[in-house]
Symmetry: C2
Subunit: 705 residues, 2 copies
């Protein structure tokens, strides 16, 4: 008996130790040893640094976190600013061996010790220290006696050196305040690279003093001035983040040609605008293959003036971005514009270039020389990969193996060949996938390799703008950040979600607009009275997944264009994940396993709420054109919930539905699966499991299209 007890006790403690104990931490540290006890905060809480007095990254970060804690606790700390030379007999002691800028591979490790003596944070340099400060801020908790930091010993370091977020500021311009809020959120989850996709067909979004026509003709007035770029770079620097600019070439260049039509492979005139055009008749099915193989505006790689121009332009840009990297895009050039131009075809013949792939390699090699001349390491999307690609060019993966698009090499193969690899495949936040998909991203190699630098979340903006991009990127990118920072064996989905929703609250409190954008959107859709009922519905919707969402909108002429798109419908403002959906899913899974009456009551209450919600919503009235699309979902949710209630009765009676009953239910399920307004009802699987009395299906990977 005693041995059995010990085994059980051991098992329990093992299970507990295998699970994160501090649900407020994300990304979860490498080693956390929790201890009994709480370090209580009061107005005397103060801090000092043993560090280089000129370490502005450290001191600005320490003050930011210190004031954040003061604000959150409302304790009115007596010490207002932490300055070099502050008395070291303080409750928070920070020891930093030397100051450092953020660069790839910098030691980002830190240790944090909290006990009765106070808090000790140690790091070998400024960057490690600010990672530790974010952990400290996340440790702050409250009980009935007030705020405290739990006693704990943490030793932490990242798995990957490149943990990035790409934001496409070209298709819809994303202004500086939104960029800064994203930087704030990136710092919170210890990301270290902000990749700005600055140019695309729809717009040229950075000022060039050498070539002002680029923005004059190519931006509709919405772009970053060089002062703003310096502001962004400096803001990111103080938060341990490098800014890597992307100038997408040789395709995706319509906006360049508005000012410089002479650089294009086909004659102009050009205006900035979307690459994909609407089908003639929006009722026709969309022919993706035809769209993808149409000629698109592309640089003429045979003209020496193009390289002379790029040399000057990249030289100007190189001085604006101190980070060691420049991204040249190089994606999605189908070569049709080249094949259509006799002069280019002639050039290929003369040079012995046998196809457009080789011509693309020729272009990449010329750009490589220019980027190298300006002392930067070149990065490109995976289409720039070729057998003789110089080994110091990093390849950014975005295409999945075996999908609709052709992969340009597996990550470990590219790495073995000698090129650094950054993984964005499976990290596209604009695909509207739930966080667990990104968290379990199979495109990140299981084996670590020094040439696999890490990965990047990527947010394209065909159907996102300044008004909803924060809810598109966050909080899900927290799960990506954890995947890139934390040990590979930390992969429990339920634990991740606990911490993700906690992170979401922290980001909201810090000023990120993801929840505000959602709620503002709901206020806009509702006249006021039905807000509560509308939210009950939208909390269980999800945007239509992956590329279907994007291609499904080609019929709207301005939808894919810049800045004036009305991205204000239901599908534009809902989260792929919600706590309501997640709680319901957890309850259904538990009930199907245990059949306990406590969980049954919770499920029943939720189903009854959804049933009543439809009539309440309809009675409260519809005030907005986008709203009508949601009516079908509301009705479907009602019917589905009614079927769910019946399913509970069946289970209690030890019965299943008859074949006859199932015919009606199949129809309800079928209707509930139909998307409306770019949104899908996202509790169908769960209610279906109740009806069929089967376990919940495993999380699935979504197809690309």
């Amino acid at each position: 008996m005693k041995i059995k007890f010990l085994i059980i006790a051991f098992l329990i403690s093992f299970l507990l130790s295998a699970q994160p104990q501090l649900p407020s931490l994300m990304p979860y540290p490498k080693s956390v040893i929790a201890q009994d006890g709480k370090y209580r905060l009061n107005a005397s809480f103060n801090a000092s640094c043993v560090a280089d007095a000129k370490d502005d990254i450290l001191y600005s970060s320490v003050n930011r976190i210190f004031q954040g804690i003061n604000r959150k606790t409302s304790l009115y700390f007596k010490q207002q600013y932490i300055k070099p030379g502050t008395d070291s007999k303080t409750t928070l002691k920070i020891k930093v061996a030397k100051k450092s800028e953020m660069y790839r591979g910098v030691d980002e490790s830190y240790s944090l010790l909290v006990n009765a003596d106070g808090i000790l944070l140690e790091a070998s340099n400024s960057i490690g220290a600010i990672r530790g400060l974010e952990t400290l801020q996340q440790l702050l908790q409250k009980d009935n006696e007030g705020f405290y930091i739990p006693f704990v010993q943490i030793n932490d370091e990242p798995r990957y050196s490149w943990r990035g977020l790409m934001i496409d500021v070209a298709r819809h311009f994303i202004p500086i305040d939104v960029i800064k809020r994203n930087i704030d959120a990136m710092t919170t989850v210890k990301m270290n690279v902000l990749h700005l996709h600055l140019t695309d067909d729809e717009g040229f979004r950075i000022e060039s003093k050498l070539f002002p026509k680029l923005t004059e003709k190519g931006s509709n007035g919405k772009y970053f001035t060089q002062d703003q770029i310096r502001d962004i770079v400096g803001y990111a620097r103080l938060r341990g983040i490098m800014v890597v600019p992307e100038f997408d070439l040789p395709g995706h260049t319509r906006s360049w040609f508005a000012g410089y039509p002479e650089f294009a492979s086909a004659p102009g005139p050009y205006e900035p605008g979307p690459r994909f055009s609407a089908p003639v008749n929006s009722n026709e099915p969309i022919n993706i293959a035809a769209i993808m193989s149409a000629p698109t505006p592309t640089l003429d790689p045979t003209k020496e003036e193009v390289y002379a121009f790029m040399d000057k332009f990249f030289g100007e840009m190189a001085t604006l971005f101190p980070a060691a990297y420049m991204h040249i895009g190089a994606d999605e050039n189908n070569g049709v514009a080249w094949k259509n131009n006799p002069a280019i075809v002639n050039f290929m013949k003369q040079k012995g270039i046998k196809d457009v792939h080789e011509l693309q390699a020729y272009f990449v090699k010329r750009m490589y020389g220019i980027v190298k001349k300006h002392k930067k390491t070149m990065i490109g999307w995976e289409e720039l990969n070729s057998p003789d690609l110089p080994k110091d060019v990093a390849v950014q993966k975005w295409i999945a193996e075996g999908g609709f698009m052709k992969s340009n090499g597996k990550p470990l193969d590219i790495a073995a060949k000698g090129n650094p690899v950054i993984i964005s495949t499976g990290f596209y936040t604009d695909h509207f996938l739930p966080a667990y998909i990104h968290y379990q991203n199979q495109n990140l190699p299981a084996t670590d390799h020094p040439n696999i630098w890490g990965g990047e979340a990527a947010q394209w903006t065909e159907i996102a703008d300044a008004g909803n991009i924060e809810l598109r990127i966050w909080p899900r990118t927290g799960a990506i950040a954890e995947r890139l920072w934390s040990p590979a064996n930390l992969n429990n989905i339920e634990n991740m979600y606990d911490r993700l929703f906690s992170l979401s609250k922290q980001l909201d409190e810090q000023g990120l607009q993801h929840i505000s954008n959602y709620e503002r959107g709901l206020r806009r859709l509702s006249s006021g009275n039905e807000y509560y009922y509308l939210r009950n519905l939208t909390d269980v919707l999800a945007p239509v997944r992956v590329m279907k969402n994007l291609f499904g909108r080609l019929g709207n002429p301005t939808q894919l264009s810049n800045n004036s798109s009305p991205l204000v419908e239901g599908g534009d403002l809902i989260f792929p994940d919600s706590e309501v959906k997640r709680t319901f899913r957890k309850n259904v899974a538990k009930y199907l396993d245990k059949k306990d009456s406590e969980t049954e009551v919770l499920i029943k209450k939720q189903l009854e709420l959804w049933i009543a919600n439809h009539n309440a919503l309809m009675n409260a009235g519809m005030m907005h054109s986008g709203y009508a699309n949601l009516e079908a979902h509301s009705k479907n949710l009602q019917k589905l919930s009614e079927a769910g209630l019946k399913a509970l009765e069946k289970i209690n009676a030890g019965q299943t539905f008859t074949t006859e009953e199932m015919t009606g239910i199949q129809q309800i399920l079928k209707e509930a699966r139909v998307p409306h307004g770019n949104a899908e009802l996202d509790v169908v699987l769960e209610i279906e499991s109740l009806i069929k009395q089967t376990l919940l299906p495993e999380p699935k990977m979504y197809p690309f299209l």
Copy 2:
């Protein structure tokens, strides 16, 4: 009989015509002739301008409004940008005689005609046109058939030429994105002056390239760079708004002395910080008179170096702000620092200056010369007024007659003397007064006088910061904007509130953060479950009024200081006005008049909700230190509502409360009037009226302290 009917019909039509018919318009136009019919919008809605092709103010505004309507309606307009030369056969025609910058006195009139032919907007210049565009945007409405503009003929022009908003960016720094959102809101309500209070004891918030020590030592790193100032000025310019800078002298100058102690009347060293200091023992009653008569950091007006410095500094600033005005502050100098300095006393003797008031006049005259040299018109707070003040100096009134502070002249007296006057008395939004107080502001002279230029709302930031300033300023400033734009005889409070809450929704939809800040604050205070109950409570609270709120916080050492104040408690995030309070007030007034059962039911339901709310809130738990302050309010609201329910029973039974019953009720009322957490329960008067069966008291003016 027939005559009686006609009289009634006439009276009804008169009453209707006296009331605004279009509740979405604020400020309400001078003349609105509504007609039967609706102009329907569809995807073909388009626009053209007959105007100067180089009128960037007009074209950027037309595109802003056009895209705003496209976004709001989700109609996907076919025309994307309105450019000079666009075909004039359009549904919206805009005719502008000539282009113009915003300057005081520019013709801001416009006419707007909407009928079956489309929409015609005419103005004599760009500024009038953009005022009309805002009216057009507010006319947009929706019914079951979609969006439309009602047929209407509007002729409009402002009552005053100076309609400003002052923001104190010195005490708590207010960053550029918040300033821009305020500019957006100002444009919506046709305001035309943004007055930035850029320097004060707590911080120096603008970069000087000539004197970088001003921000290096005086700002704790938070200030506008000159690039940002140019950005703000340009942004405001395109929206018909002038930016007027204030450099507050000779008092309120502690932050200047951090870098330049030699300019102070008393020896340093100085650090930026609040003028008011905390009492030694925070339990002692605060002695306002003692605080106000303490020596404060003040420029030494006897030193020539001071004027040489100011000449260079004002010269540098004059080039940054193209508007014709500069504000030198000149307020709240008690002269004690001067009296305490023997060299200054000696200087006064030598020059025959008999007291510190004359010394202040001497200083003002010297500054007048400097401002004039740089081709600007000087403005100052009313303390700069003196008998021999040059006639081209504008006086900004802020002190009420007969209050705690001594007035420096009545507006019409100053105007008659020959000086222009700007009224801020009664327009202080940081006094937490409900909108109707500002709307009925008795400090605005009943008689118009050409020297009364207009007025300014004023938002000081001792207890407001970037996280809550939008909810402090808006939507109430809409009522001030209407008072300054619309005819004086438009003054029905209930009508104003209809339009104010409509404006609030419009501003929210446009991206202003006032509602988001409130809701984020509530999320921060709650753990999640009790959000709904917490909001039921905070919707009927109001911040403690006027200066009591400010002075009541002197005990908290960082509360009044810059940037690190934890302004996150209940009292910091509630609105002085709310729709819930207003609806309840309206219902009580109606019921006390009519005793109708329909209104009784509404009141009863509300009281029952408040009664149930307390227990629900307490059961849901308290998670934040600031939250505890609200518990007493919640309990008091419950008790008060119970008394209100009993009052309804008494009224129905034709009874009143007995003297014995009233003793208990008086105790409940007394407790309900006690502020907690800088907030007051704001439905006490209404429930008291039910209990006493008396009419609601008239709106009252609040005392200054």
